[in-house]
């Protein structure tokens, strides 16, 4: 919910009950005042009537007004005191009008009189209606005013805040460019300072980590290069026998494996560190075709039947290097874990890439397969990092990866 909507919501939740309470209080206050006034008027008239009675020379009935709203009558019931009551009368328009009537007894010179004073009563319905109307109008104006204030506030007062928000949203950790602008508001100034401090720290950490992983890799690759190249010179020596060659080959192979392992781990770390964030529209079909070309001989050598159905225009926004790594790993997996004279089926559609291949093993814990160093075949020479690289790349590009085995076939699918 937007900040503005939220403030309006809070405003409404507070202002509606407050206005209602105000209306209620006003209603009762006005009602009481009006009733007090009415009673006063009636009481005055009653006092006047009593003064009139005191002037009577003999007992008589008397009309105080032309419309017989106030009358004096001789009472024979010997009543005492006074009593108020409601009364409905039909007026000239045929409408029932509410009246407030005072019946009061008064004794003068041995005669008991009944004084009746009737006054039209202010109607409560009308009062409520009027009040409601008044408060509704007030409310509408309040809300309108509030919207206006909010609009002005967000356009001016909150402008630096929204600018900061946009900048932070577009923040790129590798370039660390953040133009937060100037503001005279203390809180926003503070916010910008904190954000700037944070991003600078994050950027510095990121750069340090990047440098560390690259330096570490550099430091490891150099001695490996020494081992590999020394051996490549050593094998040129005359007079080496088979035993020598076997030993050298073992060292040589291990050094190369170590180097590949180092490269793979570096790749995983780099993806984790978002160092491959530069994206381009990658034509997946051409990447697949490129690597099918690279593996052509190996596929032929294994006698594998290849069925590739590649949709023409599947363009995916991702880092081109990662796209190539993803495809080469997927394809090499399907070849490596295949059987002699097996089959690979590659289907590329706009929604997914599906690679189905005959496999050399049929029972596999698929959930553990994506973990690092987990190998389908423990005796194999592979590093066990291929699938975790695939998973990492897929994950960092919001692709859904699924792996299953059905009828001796390994099916790996990537949904874009």
């Amino acid at each position: 919910m937007k900040l503005i909507s939220k403030t309006i919501l809070y405003f409404l939740t507070v202002s509606i009950p407050v206005l209602m309470l105000a209306a209620l209080i006003s209603y009762f206050t006005i009602k009481r005042t009006v009733n007090e006034n009415l009673n006063e008027v009636i009481w005055n008239k009653k006092r006047k009537a009593e003064a009139q009675i005191d002037l009577f020379k003999r007992p008589q009935n008397f009309c105080l007004s032309f419309d017989s709203m106030a009358t004096i009558a001789i009472d024979t019931t010997n009543g005492k005191g006074y009593k108020y009551s409601y009364l409905f009368k039909t007026d000239s328009d045929g409408e029932n009008v509410l009246y407030w009537e005072l019946k009061s007894y008064y004794k003068s010179r041995g005669t008991n009189y009944l004084i009746k004073i009737t006054e039209p009563k202010f109607e409560t319905d009308d009062l409520i209606e009027n009040l409601l109307e008044m408060f509704l109008i007030t409310f509408v104006f309040l809300v309108l005013g509030f919207f206006m204030i909010n609009w002005i506030v967000s356009k001016t007062l909150f402008k630096p805040f929204y600018k900061t928000l946009k900048q932070v949203e577009e923040y790129d950790i590798s370039s660390n460019t953040l133009d937060l602008g100037k503001t005279s508001t203390k809180e926003f100034k503070q916010l910008n300072e904190v954000i700037l401090k944070m991003t600078n720290k994050v950027h510095a950490d990121f750069a340090a980590q990047k440098e560390f992983t690259e330096n570490a890799s550099h430091e490891i690759q150099t001695p490996l290069a020494v081992i590999i190249n020394k051996l490549e010179n050593l094998i040129q020596t005359e007079g080496l026998n088979e035993q020598h060659f076997a030993a050298i080959q073992a060292v040589y192979e291990s050094a190369i494996r170590l180097s590949k392992l180092n490269n793979s781990l570096l790749l995983l770390t780099k993806i984790d560190n978002s160092q491959y964030i530069q994206k381009e529209l990658v034509d997946l079909k051409s990447v697949i075709e490129k690597y099918l070309g690279v593996y052509e001989d190996i596929i032929k050598e294994k006698g594998i039947k290849l069925i590739a159905t590649l949709n023409e225009t599947v363009k995916i926004s991702m880092n081109p290097f990662l796209a190539e790594t993803l495809i080469s790993n997927l394809l090499s997996n399907s070849i490596k874990h295949n059987i002699q004279n097996g089959e690979i089926k590659i289907t590329l559609t706009l929604k997914e890439l599906n690679i189905t291949n005959t496999g050399s093993f049929n029972t596999l814990d698929t959930s553990a397969l994506f973990k690092r160093f987990k190998k389908g075949n423990p005796s194999s020479e592979s590093l066990g990092l291929g699938l975790s690289i695939i998973k990492k790349i897929a994950g960092s590009n919001n692709m859904v990866i699924d792996y299953k085995i059905e009828e001796n076939r390994h099916i790996i699918s990537l949904q874009f």
Partner: protein
């Protein structure tokens, strides 16, 4: 042919020097930026191998200097960083090639040869070895005046062998030469065998000298008659 090896790691420098020396090159070396800039400013080289990260400076600056003085030397970057950005930057600075550590010495040698060939012979580049005549432009191989009809892979393989003649070349180096990074993911290099077998067969069928010998466990060797 004179080659300068600029590399701070002493043992690596020695290995490269040894391999190239046996190939018949005059090889000099420099261990840091200052020595390297001194040598490049005084002497002319046909080829300079340069590491990017050097003590006292960057290899890229040496390339820049070489290009500024219109040096004829071919430049190959030797880098520990296998990053596309570095590769692009290096080539923009005017380097001719880029090789990532760890590399195979036969690979480095083949690249130097290809670079020197490009620089020195512009077009007329027949390589004669044993009874074979290889034309790198038309990618054709003549044996006793007959075309050998090699596939692309077989041609590349032969060229790699010829560049490293009389040297033991490992299966791994061959695989990487012919298939690039793609083979990094493969477990075995058995598929190389088929190509070598086919190449040998084509040469033998045309009554050529069978120069490719198997070296136990390690790889192969192309011998000169």
């Amino acid at each position: 042919m004179k080659i300068l090896v600029i590399e701070d790691e002493a043992e690596l420098r020695k290995s490269i020097k040894e391999y190239l020396y046996n190939e018949g090159y005059v090889v000099e070396s420099a261990s840091d930026f200052l020595k390297a800039s001194e040598k490049t400013s005084v002497y002319e080289y046909d080829c300079v191998l340069v590491d990017i990260t050097l003590p006292h400076g960057s290899g890229l600056d040496i390339i820049k200097k070489l290009k500024k003085t219109n040096s004829e030397a071919g430049v190959i970057i030797i880098s520990a960083k296998n990053s596309l950005d570095d590769k692009i930057t290096g080539l923009e600075y005017g380097a001719d090639d880029y090789i990532t550590k760890p590399f195979h010495l036969p690979e480095l040698n083949a690249r130097i040869k290809a670079l020197l060939r490009r620089k020195n012979f512009e077009g007329n580049d027949d390589i004669k070895v044993n009874d074979l005549t290889i034309n790198t432009q038309s990618k054709s191989v003549l044996l006793n005046k007959e075309d050998l009809n090699l596939t692309q892979k077989e041609f590349d393989l032969l060229l790699f062998f010829v560049a490293n003649k009389n040297k033991v070349i490992t299966k791994e180096a061959i695989a990487e030469r012919l298939w690039g990074d793609g083979v990094d993911n493969m477990d075995s290099y058995d598929f190389i065998y088929t190509h070598i077998k086919n190449l040998r067969k084509k040469i033998i069928d045309k009554k050529g000298f069978d120069a490719i010998k198997t070296v136990y466990a390690m790889g192969y060797k192309f011998i000169i008659e």
